[in-house]
Symmetry: C2
Subunit: 337 residues, 2 copies
């Protein structure tokens, strides 16, 4: 297997990307191709004595995608950018998956343009796994599709269920529809229509639909897959990040108050470290862009080398899991209803 | 001033409502009328030796609004319910404000039907104040309007700004539009149109508009007023509740781990209590339903007596603040643009 890594994407590129790729090559023993400005990448490899890391190669791409580029058109405008070259490798079958921490919009547009959606899939969806009480929950869609139809939401539920089953090993993942109340009748017309479609898929045994879930139910573990349009999903994902950061900061202040509380921290350090590790984005790696005919992993813009290593791990797992074949089999079935 | 209190609404009614009203009457020295099943209310008053509390009276209403009633029609169907009778007192000017922890949908529909919106206001909005870094933020709308137009969002921004100024004493409240990115161009058509209206109001000096805010920015204190449609606002509000509850539970487990961590908790107790008090819904009381021609406070369904006392305090503050007159003056101005 060969993973194409966009070496120039993200706040800490290329240093963190290259270091993450070195770790990944040493750990996972799969081929990794670092795509980007060759001189810069080689200099980092040399600085770490890693020029001859088995499986690790470099492919030159001179241009960069930056935040001012129009996401919808940049990859056509800059075919020699690291992201475009990496996507092209995957498109042509010269690599099996791509990892990038570059512009989310450009990656989603480019993945759809270069690699295409799986036949029958209406829209690809960004689907991060988040911590929740007693486990993890997949939020789908977290921002790829600002406007959705009920059919998209149905497909997000099916694809999300397959992800949690095949990659996270969850048996019969509980699929919930994020809504403004838990009663069956809740929501705007989009939610009411999506509820009917998801319920029918549940009744037909295609998914395990548990009905509407409210915002508070998701962090408290009411479902394994939380289905949402990309607008509300983005608000939800970022609200979770913001609240977690806010609360963690307040708790830190509690421990920093005086000598007594600082000593108290030592007693709690192990537990607090475990608590923090639940919310550690670096350990997660990135979010898969589900529904595309190739594995595409969007790493967080602020990813460090550990996060990149884990995003590469995710790409390998995604490829090995048979997710894409499973979506092909299941979504065609749904489309044929 | 006289506050009408729906004694039969909420999970802990009538006990918690009556006890909260006793405390409020003793503390705020305003008139309070408890509306509901007289025998039950009198029994609770008697049990607490509070039959003769100055300013506290009872008005009989035999019927109850329950969760199975259709919110849109229940108050017409049950004119003798505690909520309908209380709203009628306010409508007729026999009370100055209403507090209820009953069905949100029924209260919003009833307030609009009985008390009417302020002239020029397109929709009333539910607007809870939430804790954030270095202060508080008003989320408007948190669920009254599942579907919104850009004009509604503009008016939410104006009304929310007046609330934070007049009731919370914030100078030039920073108004942000909750969006799926902070750049000016972000969002669906609704958000783009609302952005233009809010920006024009900001340029005209009617509000202090700080642009788009993301979900993570709101808990981190980027604005004093977070403008949102009622669907995403409801998801956001409840996600904050859920994450706070989830994290608080995890931290509790850290302290319960062993004897050492339990002793450590004693050192941190003061700080942890202050931390928790930030997230204490009971201290907040309820959420105002802003834009109605009378003060309407929706108390949380799970309110205890402290929460009811504080919801009554909010109703008094709302009435005294001149909010309604200020909205009349400002919204008509906006509608005339």
């Amino acid at each position: 297997m060969k993973i194409a890594v966009d070496a120039m994407g993200g706040d800490n590129a290329p240093e963190a990307v290259v270091c993450g790729a070195i770790r990944a090559a040493q750990t996972f023993h799969e081929e990794i191709v670092l795509v980007g400005q060759e001189d810069k990448i080689q200099a980092i490899l040399a600085a770490h004595g890693a020029q001859n890391t088995p499986g690790l190669t470099v492919l030159h791409a001179p241009d960069l995608v930056d935040m001012h580029d129009d996401p919808a058109t940049v990859l056509r405008a800059k075919p020699q950018s690291s992201m475009a070259v990496a996507l092209n490798l995957v498109k042509k079958g010269e690599a099996d998956a791509i990892v990038s921490a570059g512009s989310t919009g450009a990656l989603l547009a480019g993945a759809t343009l270069f690699c295409k959606r799986i036949k029958g899939v209406r829209r690809g969806a960004l689907a991060p796994v988040m911590p929740c009480k007693n486990g993890q929950v997949l939020l789908i869609d977290a921002g790829a599709n600002t406007e959705c139809t009920a059919e998209y939401l149905l497909q997000f539920g099916v694809m999300g269920s397959l992800y949690m089953e095949k990659i996270k090993g969850v048996q019969r993942p509980r699929v919930g529809l994020v809504n403004n109340g838990s009663e069956d009748s809740k929501g705007d017309p989009l939610r009411k229509e999506a509820y009917a479609l998801l319920k029918a898929a549940g009744d037909a045994g295609q998914i395990h639909f548990v009905g509407n879930v409210e915002g508070r139910d998701v962090p408290l573990g009411a479902c394994d897959v939380a289905v949402c349009d990309g607008f509300a999903g983005n608000v939800m994902l970022k609200t979770i990040e913001g609240v977690a950061k806010f609360m963690a900061g307040e708790i830190k202040q509690v421990f920093l108050a005086n000598l007594g509380t600082k000593l108290a921290y030592l007693a709690c350090k192990k537990g607090m470290d475990e608590f923090r590790s639940q919310f550690d984005q670096d350990a997660v790696g990135g979010a898969p862009f589900i529904g595309i005919s190739r594995p595409v992993i969007k790493a967080h813009g602020s990813s460090n080398e550990i996060a990149f290593m884990n995003a590469i791990r995710q790409a390998i797992e995604y490829k090995k899991s048979g997710m894409i074949e499973a979506i092909e089999a299941n979504v065609c079935q749904l489309a044929g209803q």
